[in-house]
Symmetry: C2
Subunit: 774 residues, 2 copies
């Protein structure tokens, strides 16, 4: 293998300057005056029967072009990322606050808003559920009368995993740790609210839908039937995306469905934008979970078994929740990661995904894994504490090693022995784990916490594979087209690096086109920390083909009697190895290829090994590659105010190979910040299906002021199947923070708290209960 | 070969309804309020030195953002379709009326116009040439002092062809026909004036250029250096094109260059649109020619030799005129077609392309071939007349037959004996050539005329090859992307038919994306009647690959133990041949392929055999396939008013295979109309470089009222290398009309006129001279 010149370098992101100077155009910047404005009348009550809708007064508002109810839809009234169970406009019943009851298109925002006010809806209220444990009880009112895949009343699905002999293991155990954990409903809080431009195309009779989507092809598959438009006439475009974190898999589908049916109905372009409050109330959220976790171990600290029951708050619709077929999704991941990153020979896990009247729960950075890992990492800390062992030591004893089997039975070929071990060691060393914290004076207590995790790259069970279109230009520059979106994660820089490394040009010579079904092949959705690996491999395939063609042309026409294997391309210069005087610019070789009937456009593809996962017992190889990580934090807790401050965070992640280290560090820092928010402050507070804090005044997220010094450490144990060894990093980075903080708070206060977020109110309450309990 | 189901059908054009109902968007429809308006100050004098330019007053006009002169340009001040000799803004000298002296960008049209009025230019006048015969004389003022490729003073190039022994043949001849012919400068008169939107892309630092271009990749190659932007950051888009006829190869380059440099300078989007008068004065024209033609024949009517000297009015710049390297272009074609569609064993041809101060001459439907054929077909009529032979008979005696050699020495493998012969026979038969015309009474005389022609498909000497991107969608529909443009010729319908036939779907299931360098591979320029064949073959290649993949998947997964060769796809249904009950929709097979890791996106390519043409003697195989045609017209001529009316026109064209017969007939009808305009009325009248009729009030083109009954006949002698046998038809269709009309006028009046257009003024003058001559 050639020495790497570009992969592994700290490249400035290709979009950095244009974004930092505010000059790029997002979807909202493309609004034109000739577009109608679309608005939705959302459900006034989260769970209610709709007895009557009267839109006659709304239609009389000057400037209103149409008012649509379900009966006016052009196609199928259902869509979704896995199953088409979410109606564009509900027909006779609301399931949550975000259900659209009617849609309006008007020539101005004012007219549209006035029309919304004049729509009269008669509701008959039903009891609304916030808590899946209530909704799954016998006698609960069914939220979906005829849901296509719900298994039992409000229980969407129950998935299971069984490995070894759990009963026997618990019987043999020296120690059993048993706890209930709770994690909250969380909003993605992407910067750019959901927005869509839907514009009929008179030439094809189709529609162009522009929105900051994470998955243009998945959106098209889901929406084609809603609009009644064939795939090749439904152009789905995702310009730059102002953050998504998994949420814009669904939310852009929501807004696109609404804007799209209005555009089809009116046969005019429609612009639709959600307010921030609408984003809070209507779009998908992270699954809240209720986890009952039992862990059996020997007195030497070896974990023998886990027995885990997870109840997931599905909210109103399936989204990326989980079904039996296809299996991959959040619910299934709570099984796979029920024992965290440890070698646990016996495991039983049951996960119930249950409908409630809260916003549908969907993909959210790490989907399912942060919740499962939170529980397991809390358990491990308690195990260490009960055995009087060091929390790091207990993790080292149990961590997955090369050739170990996970609780799905997958043999760990990934870590080559030490991916996780090296992360633990490096974090402990950098953090100075062995040194005691200096004592804190007065009401401010200090503590430190540790956590480890693993995370599988991609979504192989749902479907995997990636295609890329690459076009070498006559001046030696390269155009790449993939359907994956630059969502702020730096993907396009990483792909440019892979392309530049493979072909032998500079990063500056690569342009990655924006995602657009009319011009990019299907490289899959931008989810699951899959893009660097899956799409990167497709780019590598395409560029390797182009490189080979260029070497062949150079050998044949430009360096007579030279073997192509003796030619190289670096920085856009084609030269004979060892004879630097024999060289040509790549542009000259490309021009020669062009004139010599050698195509300069190629499609590259990559597919991972087929994944497996049994619905019977949760056994199989659900992912081809796993990233590993470790995290340590130091916190101070003011027992009088309840305020927790994270003073320091050290994190290591085995990313296989950091294509762009600065980007990987950015992901680790951003993921830690998001994990910190999840641990300390973020929560959508629901009250009978009504969100009580749908604004940034009442819903807190971390600002730069809330962040500690973040110290990312990159560990590289190559993924043999990844491009230049890479594994995914986007989601892994967010997992470790919450359990590390919770464990540090226990360390600081000596109080065990099993519920996040650890708000000031929660801390004061726990301190009070603890004091009262004494 | 499977029975054809779609190719050969009279398909409704896929863009027919959207265009007929006026709903599609052309470039001008994309203008936005936030765009600056760009305008050019064109040369006040066609040939002058620029002594000084003062833009200070112009810059003071409120709303003016910039005024650019040559010194303000961001990159190379030169571009062109073959050589970069046309400046964006002239520096010190004007060469024709269309030279830009300065450019203005302003927030309104009014401000821009006011700024133009306030620019002060001091000129020093030079003599201006309209006639290349004057410009090539010794002592003429040089129009380009330092032209990069001009051979001798104002002579751009002299090309030659020599075959056999011309002197000997003339010595042996029984009869020699010798005449001078003249053809005019003609404007393309496309409906849509030239227009461009140039918009900086802050994300890449590049530029997007939208204009109704015929050749997005060629434009990009030419403009990248002008803007100083790499190819992959210069996105060139051609939406629907409102006619081009070869003109928009150059004219869109002109307007794009001007709008682009303004956009780069201002770093803001710029909209620029030429007025119709500007289109007349500044854009390219058909080469005027002055042809001295000598023809030697036996008394039996067998042509022994031709000796032809052609002087082409190049106008101010090279454009598609001709050079020694690359050789292909208009000038060279006047050699290749100097003997028309006949087997002539001895030939000498000299063609001089000469700079003048008229608008640059460029590609125009048939480039060079109509002019050369006009002269030869006039000669042949005179030969028949002098020998007392029938004009059809003389053509049958001399026509190219299978295995004959052309005057370039190319062996005619194309016509399989009878492509041309069948055209002649069918036209004569349908027209009723043998029947005498009924005598006309009074001043209105009647006559009939005949002409034949041949035309090589494509531009192989310049470069040939075509690439296509094809994406089979999961619902069984297909997206195609090529850089060739739908210019009104019906290309996208033809490509959809080829794709549908090859893959086995319906035409309605195919979408051909609009031309855009960011999404379509390079399929070459939309010129030279090449697209149906060259691009069609690339589409065929791509769809054949997709079909094979689908058959393989169906055989492997859906019809167990079936050989892929026993499976077919028709109308989107995949079935086992002979077992109609074994079938699956293509969408199901595509979905299975998708799930089975079979890529659904492919690049298709096609390259014709390498062409050849010697600069030494004009010998070689300049084209891989030739279309043939014959045309007969009946005219009436009013000798008092001079008005010629074409009463009837029958035309046959050997198109190899008519992919869409209604489209082919449309091309034959449209080409005939354009040929009629050339013959009877169209001419840009120049006076010392100044155009005297730059409006549709003074420049006449045929309307529907001027057209006779048009009777197209399709003849099909398959091109073995063409998709389903096709050859090009767009340009051939325009060649036959002018010589047929001129010959008919001679028949009607008994007066030989060797100059077109045959305006009423010309007829009256000729009749008067003829009467005086008696």
């Amino acid at each position: 293998m050639r020495k790497l010149r570009i992969v592994g370098q700290r490249e400035l992101r290709t979009d950095a300057i244009a974004k930092a100077t505010g000059r790029v155009r997002f979807t909202a910047d493309m609004r034109r005056k000739d577009m109608l404005t679309g608005k939705a009348l959302f459900a006034a009550y989260p769970h209610a029967l709709i007895k009557n809708i009267d839109v006659s007064e709304a239609l009389r508002v000057p400037g209103v072009v149409t008012v649509m109810t379900a009966k006016d839809l052009p196609g199928r009234n259902g869509y979704g990322v896995m199953i088409q169970d979410k109606p564009v406009i509900v027909e006779s019943k609301t399931h949550y606050e975000g259900d659209a009851v009617a849609l309006v298109a008007a020539v101005s925002d004012e007219a549209a808003r006035e029309a919304l006010r004049r729509i009269k809806v008669d509701y008959e209220l039903l009891p609304a559920y916030d808590d899946p444990r209530e909704a799954m009880k016998e006698g609960a009112v069914r939220i979906h009368e005829n849901h296509p895949v719900a298994e039992d009343g409000n229980i969407l699905v129950t998935l299971k995993l069984d490995r070894g002999d759990v009963e026997e293991a618990f019987a043999q155990a020296d120690i059993i740790i048993e706890n209930d954990y709770e994690t909250p409903i969380v909003e993605h809080c992407y910067m750019e609210p959901d927005v869509c431009i839907a514009e009929p195309d008179p030439l094809t009779g189709g529609l162009t839908v522009i929105s900051p989507a994470q998955a243009v092809y998945a959106n098209r598959r889901s929406l084609a039937g809603v609009f009644g438009i064939p795939h090749n006439k439904l152009r789905v475009v995702s310009p730059l995306v102002g953050g998504g974190f998994g949420g814009k898999e669904d939310s852009c589908l929501d807004v696109s469905a609404m804007a799209g049916v209005l555009a089809v109905k009116c046969d005019r372009p429609v612009y639709m934008e959600l307010t921030r409050e609408e984003v809070f109330r209507t779009t998908g959220k992270r699954h809240a979970t209720y986890i009952s976790h039992r862990l059996a171990a020997t007195k030497e600290g070896k974990v023998l078994a886990v027995d885990v029951r997870t109840i997931l708050n599905k909210g109103a619709y399936v989204s990326m929740g989980g079904m039996k077929e296809p299996l991959h999704a959040v619910t299934m991941r709570t099984l796979v990661y029920a024992a965290g990153a440890y070698h646990v020979p016996n495991a039983r896990a049951r996960s119930h995904s249950v409908f409630t009247n809260t916003p549908y729960a969907c993909a959210f950075r790490g989907f399912g894994v942060p919740q499962a890992t939170f529980a397991m990492e809390c358990q491990m800390d308690e195990l260490a504490r009960r055995l009087g062992m060091d929390p790091v030591k207990i993790r080292q004893i149990n961590m997955l090693r090369h050739n170990d089997r996970t609780i799905t039975g997958q043999v760990m070929l990934e870590s080559r022995g030490l991916g996780l071990g090296e992360c633990i060691e490096k974090v402990a060393e950098r953090f100075g784990w062995d040194k005691a914290l200096p004592a804190a004076a007065g009401p401010v207590k200090k503590g430190k916490g540790f956590a480890v995790y693993m995370y599988g790259t991609g979504i192989p069970l749902l479907f995997e594979g990636s295609n890329c279109y690459a076009h070498l230009q006559l001046d030696g520059t390269l155009s790449l087209a993939v359907s994956s979106t630059e969502i702020g994660q730096g993907l396009n820089t990483v792909l440019a690096q892979i392309a530049a490394e493979t072909l032998g040009i500079r990063v500056a010579d690569v342009v990655v086109e924006l995602s657009d079904t009319a011009k990019t092949p299907d490289s899959g959705p931008t989810v699951g920390s899959r893009s660097a690996v899956l799409v990167g491999n497709a780019v590598l395939d395409a560029c390797a083909k182009l490189r080979e063609r260029m070497l062949t042309v150079a050998a044949r026409y430009m360096f007579a009697k030279t073997d192509p294997r003796d030619i190289t391309i670096e920085d856009g210069v084609v030269s004979v190895i060892g004879k630097p005087e024999l060289k040509q610019p790549l542009s000259a070789v490309a021009a020669k290829a062009y004139a010599s009937q050698v195509p300069l456009a190629v499609v590259g593809s990559w597919y991972p090994p087929q994944a497996s996962f049994s619905a019977e017992d949760g056994q199989g190889n659900p992912c081809h590659a796993y990233a590993f990580g470790a995290q340590a934090v130091e916190v101070t807790v003011d027992v009088e105010t309840g305020v927790i401050t994270v003073q320091r965070a050290v994190m290591a992640c085995d990313v296989g190979k950091a294509i762009n280290p600065v980007n990987v560090e950015g992901q680790m820092e951003g993921g830690s910040a998001q994990g910190l928010g999840w641990a300390l402050m973020e929560e959508s507070i629901m009250e009978k299906g009504v969100m009580r804090n749908p604004t940034f005044h009442s819903y807190m997220i971390p600002t730069i002021e809330d962040l500690p010094r973040l110290e990312p450490i990159i560990v590289e144990h190559p993924n043999e199947l990844g491009p230049y060894g890479a594994k995914g990093v986007g989601e892994p980075a967010t997992i470790g923070m919450a359990p590390a903080i919770r464990n540090a708070v226990w360390d600081a206060l000596g109080i065990k708290i099993n519920v996040i977020p650890l708000t000031a109110r929660q801390i004061i309450k726990s301190v009070k209960e603890h004091e009262q309990g004494r």
